[in-house]
Structures are given as structure tokens and as C-alpha cells.
């Protein structure tokens, strides 16, 4: 569990779901947390019309920025460079990791502190750096807990949401020297604070994610409550920001509505404790702040998403997590069952596009298409439509878009394809359909009583003795004859 292994996503998905459903403690933790987060969000948006207007605005802003993405990226790069921020471009996860390692090497750096960054989880940065002798410490409390437990985040906003305080108390007691078992949350946070302060103090490099990158001014915006993001980007002498290429917005004017949508949708807060806008490294007359700031612009499949009109909507995402909080499937199976860095509805859309349908396409099964995610989404991503599209692509053999999501048709099964072909044939030929119906009703005694997993908790369906067609025909015949009868009397 400690390392995200894309190769296991499709292979182990069914088993992971089964295990999660059996785990009562896990299910209680998620149920409680999701109810809490849904309630907090609802309280922030008391007025439906206001919410809709804000969502429409959020969607329009993100669409406008995406439509100018190449120009905005160039402008962002230029402004950053003018401001003294060094910009790097990475097409793949490997390339991003290599760039970050090279910066570490240039400074003989061996200690990195990290602010919360899902993109760094996406590229597997921690393990890559550990393999190259760099200590890489998560400092967001949730991420720290998850790292201590040798796990991965189970939610993009609240990484340790799958654990309750008893489990965390045990973890701290076992893993941190000299810590006694305590379920007191203030105590637990205090312990984390003390351990991590020392790490901020010593770190050579701080790595953060980016919530919004402003092209007009060359500014990196970070949203957080804890202050670890500020520590990471203020105290160590070097700051590296890892930024998905879709995060660029045109101007500062775009920030207030997006920020409002993000914090309210994510945690039901009017604003977070800190909104941190970084536009340059330390200037000569300034007393603190990193002397070097780097931005790594990460593609890793994003430009492929950009190529398809429908799938491009994925890139509007501002990573608020509301879709998972409102997903009935996520609430029951939790984030780890998906086996991907990004779980829940947005994960079902992003992951198969990053890692390919042949690797992560199966998770699109975990959806009832109820649409709650799309209704909660602050930028109106039609998540259920996109999930259905990717399901279709997983089973489709002919390319429908250029370039199509990788691994198209990978989940196609011959038996399934043949079954559907036959079904289509029957529905197209009335004669054949009537014959099939006749056989099914007359031979109903032969219907199997066990059909794989379907009948584990349900009884098998059995054809009726007469088809609806026959019953209706019979009825209209008898009606007609009784009317005839009446007239003769």
C-alpha cells in the first residue's frame, strides 16, 4: 500500500472493493467524514441561485483560461522569469522527478520538506527521491499521518480521513519515539507540530503544489489552513513548486471567485486560514524567504486530455474533493479501494486518462451514474458523462477521438461483445425476437438457478410463463369477444 503501483489498479480493483466493504471501522470512518463535509458545504451555500451563479462563473473562467492555455503558459513563464522564478517543463512523471532531483543535487540537498501536493503523489516523488538518498517528509498533518503509516492518501483534501483518532493515537505511540498513547487531538497535533518544526528548521528544500498559477503576474497561489505550506515555501533556502499545466489562470481577477468556490466546496469554509501568493524569490533587501524558486510545469497526460472536446472538461477541475464527498460509492468503499492517486469521481476520470484504460480503466465501473458528483462540482464538470464515456472507451475497439485515451478497448471481452451483438440482432429482427421470446417462455424450467456472483445474494431471474406480448394479445382478444357477446344480447 505504501507505494502507488499503477500496475495493480485494474488487477486488484475487485478485491480491494470487496475488502473495503468488509471493513466496518473503515466504513464508519468514511460515512462520518463524508456526512460532516457534505453538511459543512451545504451550510456555506444556503442560497441555490447564488450557488448556481457562482458555479456558472467558475465554469466560464476555467473554460476561458483553458481556451488560451498555450498562450497563458508562455505568459506565465515569461512573467516568472522576469520575477526571478525558474521555470521547467516536464512531459512525463519521470522527467518531473529527474528535474527535481537535479535541483536537489545542485544544492547538495538531502532533506526535503513537502507541503501538500497531489501532483507529487501522482508522479511518485517520495519514493523516487528516497531511492536516490533524499529524505522527503510530508508536513501536512494528514499527509504526515499517512506517510508514518506507510500508506497513501485516501482523499485529495483530507488524506488521513480513513483513520479515526484511536488509530492515529496508536500509530503515533508506535512510530514516534517517546510518545505515549493519547486520543487527545490537541495533544496529537502538538506532537506532529514539534516533530515537523525541527524538520522545517533543518530542511534544504521545500516542495509545494500550486492551486492557481496567475499568468498576468507570474504568481503561485497556495490555499491552506495549517501553515505548513507557508513554512515549506518560506523557511528552506530553495522552494520548488510542482504545478499541473492546467492550473494557469489569466489574471488576478479570476482568483476571488475560484477561491470562494474552492474553499466552500472543499471544507465548507468561507476562506482558508492562509492564501499564499508567491511572485518571486527573496529580493536583496528582504530578510527571509527562499533565495531560489523553481516551478515545474507538469503535463503527464494533461495535453492528451486537452485534445478531446468532451474529455478536456477534466482540466477544469480545481481539486476541491466535493465530488468524492458526495459520491455514494466513494463513501462506502473509501479512497484506497480505487488503488489510484486520485480516488472518487474525479479520480475515475483523471486516472484512466493519465495511466491509460488498460491500467486504470476498471475503476470507471464503480459508479451508479447518479450524478451527485456533477451537481456538487463547483466548475460543473459533467463527471458522470465523462465516466460513462471512459467506460465506453474501455470497451470500444474503434478509435473515437484523436488522440484517443490510451488503452482504448483494453477491457473489451469477447464473450461480452458477442452477447451484445446477438442482443442487437434480436432487437432488429421482429421475427427472430418473437421466436426467442417463445422459446424462453416455453423452456423456462431450464433457466439456470445460479448465475455467478449475481445469485450470491439474489435469486435468479426466471422468464414468465407467457410474454407480455402474448398476454396483451390474449387480453385484447377476450375483450373483443366479450364485447361481441354483449352486442348480441
Amino acid at each position: 500500500m505504501s507505494r502507488f503501483e499503477p500496475a495493480t489498479v485494474n488487477l486488484e480493483f475487485d478485491k480491494r472493493v470487496g475488502d473495503a466493504l468488509q471493513d466496518q471501522e473503515l466504513r464508519a470512518n468514511f460515512r462520518g467524514a463524508m456526512d460532516f463535509l457534505m453538511g459543512k458545504r451545504a451550510a456555506m451555500f444556503p442560497d441555490k441561485e447564488g450557488l448556481e451563479a457562482l458555479r456558472t462563473q467558475g465554469e466560464a473562467i476555467r473554460n476561458r483560461c483553458l481556451s488560451q492555455l498555450p498562450e497563458l503558459l508562455e505568459q506565465f513563464e515569461q512573467r516568472c522569469t522576469e520575477n526571478g522564478i525558474q521555470v521547467h517543463w516536464a512531459e512525463t512523471a519521470q522527467e518531473a522527478n529527474a528535474i527535481i532531483l537535479e535541483i536537489m543535487h545542485k544544492h547538495d540537498a538531502t532533506r526535503m520538506v513537502k507541503g501538500k501536493s497531489m501532483a507529487s503523489e501522482e508522479i511518485g516523488l517520495n519514493h523516487f527521491l528516497a531511492d536516490h538518498g533524499v529524505e522527503c517528509l510530508e508536513t501536512d498533518m494528514g499527509e504526515y499521518i499517512v506517510q508514518l503509516a506507510d500508506e497513501t492518501p485516501s482523499h485529495i483534501i483530507m488524506p488521513a480521513i480513513h483513520k479515526n483518532k484511536q488509530q492515529i493515537a496508536r500509530l503515533f505511540n508506535q512510530k514516534i519515539d517517546g510518545v505515549e498513547y493519547s486520543e487527545n487531538v490537541d495533544r496529537l497535533i502538538g506532537i506532529g507540530r514539534d516533530v515537523l518544526r525541527q524538520k522545517f528548521f533543518e530542511a534544504d528544500v521545500g516542495l509545494s503544489g500550486v492551486n492557481f498559477a496567475v499568468a498576468e503576474t507570474g504568481t503561485l497561489c497556495l490555499v491552506e489552513n495549517e501553515g505548513n505550506g507557508r513554512m515549506t515555501t518560506t523557511v528552506p533556502p530553495v522552494h520548488i513548486a510542482l504545478c499541473g499545466i492546467e492550473k494557469v489562470v489569466e489574471s488576478l481577477r479570476d482568483i476571488p471567485p475560484l477561491l470562494k468556490l474552492l474553499t466552500r466546496s472543499a471544507t465548507g469554509q468561507a476562506i482558508t486560514t492562509y492564501f499564499n501568493m508567491i511572485s518571486s524569490p527573496r529580493k536583496p533587501d528582504e530578510k527571509d524567504g527562499p533565495k531560489e524558486v523553481h516551478v515545474v510545469l507538469l503535463d503527464n497526460g494533461r495535453s492528451r486530455m486537452y485534445a478531446d472536446k468532451q474529455l478536456q472538461q477534466t482540466l477544469r477541475c480545481i481539486r476541491c474533493g466535493a465530488c468524492m464527498n458526495h459520491c455514494p460509492v466513494y463513501t462506502r468503499i473509501g479512497g484506497h479501494a480505487y488503488g489510484t492517486t486520485y480516488p472518487g469521481p474525479i479520480g475515475q476520470v483523471v486516472s484512466p486518462q493519465i495511466w491509460g484504460l488498460h491500467t486504470a480503466g476498471s475503476i470507471t465501473k464503480a459508479c451508479s451514474l447518479n450524478g451527485a458528483c456533477g451537481e456538487a462540482c463547483p466548475v460543473k464538470i459533467p463527471l458522470a458523462d465523462l465516466i460513462r464515456r471512459l467506460r465506453y472507451e474501455s470497451n470500444n475497439s474503434e478509435p473515437t477521438s484523436v488522440p484517443a485515451p490510451r488503452g482504448q478497448g483494453a477491457l473489451r471481452k469477447r464473450s461480452e461483445a458477442v452477447t451484445w451483438k446477438l442482443w442487437a440482432l434480436l432487437l432488429h429482427k421482429p421475427g427472430l425476437y418473437a421466436l426467442a421470446l417463445f422459446i424462453a417462455t416455453r423452456l423456462r424450467a431450464l433457466a439456470p438457478r445460479r448465475i455467478g456472483p449475481w445469485t450470491r445474494y439474489r435469486s435468479a431471474p426466471k422468464p414468465a410463463a407467457r410474454s407480455l406480448h402474448e398476454l396483451a394479445a390474449q387480453r385484447s382478444q377476450s375483450n373483443a369477444s366479450s364485447q361481441e357477446h354483449g352486442r348480441h344480447e
Binding site: 467524514a33 447564488g50 457562482l54 456558472t56 462563473q57 466560464a60 473562467i61 473554460n63 476561458r64 481556451s67 498555450p70 503558459l73 517543463w89 512531459e91 522527467e95 501536512d140 498533518m141 494528514g142 499521518i145 483530507m158 488521513a160 483513520k163 483518532k165 487531538v185 496529537l188 497535533i189 502538538g190 506532529g192 507540530r193 515537523l196 518544526r197 522545517f200 489552513n225 495549517e226 501553515g227 505548513n228 507557508r230 513554512m231 518560506t234 523557511v235 499545466i245 476571488p256 471567485p257 476562506i271 482558508t272 486560514t273 501568493m277 511572485s279 518571486s280 524569490p281 528582504e286 530578510k287 524567504g289 510545469l297 503535463d299 495535453s303 492528451r304 486537452y306 478531446d308 472536446k309
Partner: protein, 224 residues
Amino acid sequence: MSSREAILNRLRTYRQPQPSQPVQAPASAPAMLSVAEKVRVFTENLHAAHAEVITATEENWTRRLLSVLRETGVHSVTYAPNTPHGESLKSAAHAYPELQLHAYENNIESCKDALFNHIQCGFGAAMKGVAETGTLMVKTGPDEPRALSLVPPTHSLIIHAKDLYADLPEALHRTQITAALPTNLLLISGPSKTADIQQTLAYGAHGPKRLIVVLIVPEESDHV
């Protein structure tokens, strides 16, 4: 081809034509609030975020702040020298002999240990406030070091009621700094906090546990 060109080329090739969707005006126009209303809303929101607010005048704020610090056992404060608020604090501190004032005048490299391990409070200023969210806008720079508002366990800062705005768009747009942003522009809306353990709120996750806002209102105001 470099990665940069490869990425940009792909984006240019596959760009989707966008219907030009004008961005609607903000969902609700900012309320035109009087200063007194802004003060009230701002204070309420800060209290809700677990911050302390000392409402005072130009004349009495140093005395009020210093006595709150003394009463709560804070006896080492770092401040930005050569600033009006820093100098006022310094001259008022003579009356509080147990209080140690440290001017933040050297680079962090030379005072990191004191900052992390000894100093109990950082004192600075906010350039603007946002009533709607109880937010303080802090423009860091030579006179407002970044660690001042971050590392010590208590953060205190001064703001004038005349610098309060109804909401964030107003505060940002009525600001000259948006043309050339400072190294680090901060919005601070309470003490550091986390709910990462079972959704239980705890303060002082990594940043200050306490936020003390000194709000300067005009003399004749009934907020004093």
C-alpha cells in the same frame, strides 16, 4: 524537440474552439458597507475564526496590546524596525520592563534559532482587511518579514478601520500592488488550524496558535 515545445505544440494543435463566454459579474454585488458595519462584520468573522481582536485608538493601542501580552504570559516579541507601528511599540515598551523586544533586522539565517525556539510573538501590520471573511492582507517585504507572521506561536498585527473592504474583489482591485505583486502577498484569516484528525478542529498546526488583531478605529467611534 524540448519538452516545452512538445507540450505547447500539442496544446496548440488540439485547442478546442471555445464559444466566447463572457464571465458574469460576481454572483452578488459587494454590499456598500459603512466603516462601522465593516468593523462589526470583520470583528465577528475574526472571532468566529478563533482570533482575538483588540479594538483601540491611535493613542491607546500600544498600552492595550502590551497589557494583553503581559496578562497572557508573552514576554518576547519580534517586530519590524523602522516601521511606524514597530517604533510605536518600541517606545511604549519602556513601561513594560519584563518584555523583551527583538528587532527583526537581520537575515533569517542569523536569527533562525531564536525565531524558532525562543521568541513568543511576532508583531507586524496588515495593509488591508476584508470584512466578508475576516481576512488580513499582509504585504511582506523588507518591512514585513515573512517569518514574522508564521514562526512564533503568537502573531499580532495592526490594521486601521479605514483599510477595511467589503469583500476580496474590492480589496484586491482597489490595490495598486496588483500591477507588481510583492515577493509574497498573504491573506490571513485566523490562527493556523487543522481538522485532519477525525474532523476535530485543533489550532496551531504549524503556524501561530494565537492571532491577535489590533484594530484601530477613529477616536470618536463608539467601538472603543
